[in-house]
Subunit: 223 residues, 2 copies
DNA sequence: ACCTGAACACCGTTCAAGT
DNA sequence: ACCTGAACACCGTTCAAGT
């Protein structure tokens, strides 16, 4: 019993949205999106599965909160002193690294680009786009185009996010590469040509090239 | 009994992958991705739920086949006589229209960008990019950037795809707009500025502007 | 206010049994 | 070869009952 009943006794192990989200992230990182069940989560938190619903609306909200928690951390770390183009690259790479480190975020972001985590990224990027000083109507287009780079990598990692572990994920990638090699050489000449380039290819570099391509487009259209 | 036993008697209602995919598309179009269950599909096909597994590996393969069926139709309709930039716009708009008409395709494409339907689009776009005559190493970047536009709209429609009907989808959009209006004006100044622009905004035009932005970037970097 | 955990209403997938 | 449909092993979510 607390001797001061005005300040509620808070047990260290009391349930809270923050603790639930933290546990969810651990499960997601360790075993992928499929492993996040309310039963598994309840077991990890040593509680009943129904208790989670007191703090979180449903599974979708839980995933959104988990993604938002990580994206919020990444976006708050980004400090801006450089010129807008560099800042945009930094923000985009921050999002890329978050998706790369937590593939389930890829599935989550690309599965619902209206969720809070995506808005956070868009706000960060959009502010820098504003600084470029283009006409109002163009802001939307430019920011969306940059967001597409982020949603693109998000999608690329979405499928892998459902697999449980890194070892199985690399197997998944080689399976994809093999699938490409089996495509009809005439009907899929271009894809096969890309497939040949795939082994020595750096995801992050490729992502940055995409961002730079959009930035170049912005530059050439409005400046 | 067929009087000619060499040519197999084919009952009009015989099960086949094509018929299954067709029925699946009807369900998906009518009631969204959530409505596509093997039980519902079996009922519509007047068969047992297990029978479907004889023709389709699993639910994921069924969705991929459904998406591929529609994308294949769209891509084969695209005839190319114009210059590559125009052809790219035509292909991209074809993909856009398919996603717009069948939002579940959005969820499907963005959920797994290594599936066949996506490769189809990439092949079509990539061939035109080749015609632009840029260096080999740049082909990958340019095509991926254009694919990002497609995956971007795909993602934008992914969330709506889970809702059942058009009426509920428009309610979903206004709910999103209201959510944006409630965001902290200081922390989300940019997003709120965009939200104001949202009502009089044309998705298709916006999409095309994104494609043009990337095309302009390609032009300015390599030509 | 917050937590418990059994119960409900579903799923995808499998498989012995049929034709 | 192809189909049937009950059975299995799960889910998310609810809710009466507890503290």
């Amino acid at each position: 019993m607390p001797f001061n009943s005005q300040r509620a006794e808070r047990r260290t192990d009391a349930l809270s949205k923050a603790r639930i989200v933290e546990a969810a992230i651990q499960i997601l990182d360790a075993d992928g999106e499929g492993a996040l069940t309310f039963r598994a989560l309840a077991t990890r938190l040593a509680t009943g599965s129904g208790a989670i619903y007191w703090h979180v609306a449903d599974r979708q909200a839980l995933l959104a909160a988990a993604a938002d928690h990580i994206i919020a951390g990444v976006m708050s770390e980004v400090t801006m002193r450089s010129k807008p183009q560099d800042a945009i690259r930094t923000i985009a790479l921050g999002a890329f690294d978050a998706i790369y480190a937590h593939p389930w975020i890829g599935a989550q972001l690309s599965g619902d680009p209206w969720q809070h985590a995506v808005l956070r990224i868009m706000e960060s990027i959009g502010r820098q786009v504003q600084l470029l000083g283009m006409p109002e109507a163009a802001l939307f287009n430019a920011t969306t185009a940059l967001m597409n780079c982020v949603l693109g990598v998000a999608a690329q990692h979405a499928a892998a996010a459902r697999l449980p572990r890194n070892t199985e994920r690399s197997a998944h990638l080689t399976a994809i590469a093999e699938g490409w090699a089996l495509l009809d050489p005439l009907e899929y000449s271009f894809v096969r040509r890309l497939a040949a380039q795939l082994p020595g290819h750096d995801d992050r570099e490729q992502f940055l090239a995409g961002v730079n391509l959009v930035l170049a487009g912005i530059q050439s259209i409005w400046f």
